[in-house]
Symmetry: C2
DNA sequence: TAAAAAAAATGATATTTATCATCTTTGATA
DNA sequence: TATCAAAGATGATAAATATCATTTTTTTTA
């Protein structure tokens, strides 16, 4: 269980920072971020920002996982991305000038830091490394989403599930995958019932193990083969 | 029919420029682009760049339409975007440092200018307006693709076709929509046969008119209602 | 302008996947 | 720890869409 007091999490000791966009900051840049941020504890299932609102700054994930999603016409969520420790979320809408097109909420307990819009944009302007990192990140994601779209359009639910499990495996690292069946279905883009049935098939075929809610990947190879490329 | 000689198209007189990322360039910035670019005529169906290759620069569309697509496992195309006059294409991969994840080829005769990587990156570095424009563009597209993914996952083919026709209507402006059924199916994400049948339904329901290959939107309202939001 | 190729259209059928109804298990909370 | 709500699971059925085979029309090119 995480510390619930809203105390300051120092960037200096943030284990997630090395792998983040702030990873190669020098000391004084780190303290610049440190001085201008605020930190907060979020409990599981709490919204960080919602679709349609205007961004006031960006969120930097110190601890925990966060889902980024949109809602279709009937309110059904489509999970676009699951962010983990070290990721900065919500910076896209700051450049687009539009309100958020996606929403974000926690999938588990999280510690999340907040950097105000002005401070962040100021950093972008004065720090070419950060700027280039951001542009690189934006471009990469654009490519990933093209593939996501293609998968949605051309792969069967079974293939998409295999693909999704591989991504989730990466995100959860050596932890077990821990999502509700509904969230997983909303990531794969299918009905919850269909997802449940397929998970059982995958278990029977020796690709995963199911520990009630948590999933363990047993046969990465087979999943990759099924997912295609 | 376009002029096939590879003569220089001046940015100065480029009708598409005003609506492009170079739209608010001052005179000397325009001539900077002008001096560093080369122009070429492309015939219909010609590739501009292909998936997996490394970018040497960016392409600026002076005249004509271009499809941006990926290929699924069985080689089937998924069209992600259709670019028109004024759009700059292929700049994403230049920032990501990765090879192209998408391919581009012409849908009709095109005049396309080319700006080398070094020149373009130099412009980005020295021109904050261009840089901000690019970041804005990248972010916007990221939002659009989130919605695209959600549509793919949650809408029926019929709804997606309505959505696609609205987008195509915007792109083609007062021209009629002019795509093969296969390309259209690859944009909507469905089988060609299904697309053909649905187009007939749409015609019968008075939403579009079919002039052999070209389509005309008759009832925008109804399409919007069908497409949702 | 005829011939060939490509695109469009149509019908029959199979398959995948969603939906609805219901039941069971798990986990949270009073 | 008993109770309740949420999540997970299962079966039956319906609907949407893909696939395959074939024909017609349009476009391209020799």
């Amino acid at each position: 269980m995480l510390d619930k007091s809203h105390k300051h999490v120092s960037c200096d000791t943030c284990g997630a920072r090395k792998s983040s966009l702030f990873g190669n900051f020098c000391d004084h840049e780190v303290s610049q971020v440190d001085e201008n941020k605020s930190c907060a504890y979020y409990k599981k299932g709490q919204p960080i920002f919602i679709e349609g609102s205007f961004p006031r700054g960006v969120f930097c994930l110190n601890q925990g996982k966060v889902k980024i999603f949109t809602r279709g016409d009937e309110g059904k969520e489509q999970i676009i991305h699951i962010a983990k420790e070290g990721e900065i979320i919500g910076f896209r809408a700051m450049f687009s000038g539009e309100p958020y097109k996606v929403a974000a909420s926690t999938l588990e307990e999280c510690n999340i830091c907040f950097i105000g819009k002005e401070d962040f944009l100021n950093m972008i302007d004065t720090n070419p490394t950060l700027r280039n990192g951001i542009m690189k990140e934006l471009s990469k994601e654009l490519g990933d989403r093209a593939i996501f779209i293609t998968n949605m359009a051309q792969k069967s639910v079974r293939e998409r599930l295999a693909f999704a499990l591989l991504i989730l495996g990466d995100i959860y690292g050596d932890e077990q995958i821990n999502l509700t069946r509904e969230d997983m279905a909303n990531f794969v883009g299918t009905a919850t019932e269909t997802l449940i049935r397929l998970l059982k098939d995958f278990k029977d075929e020796g690709m995963i193990e199911i520990h009630t809610r948590k999933l363990e990947i047993i046969d990465n190879e087979k999943l990759m083969q099924l997912a295609g490329r």
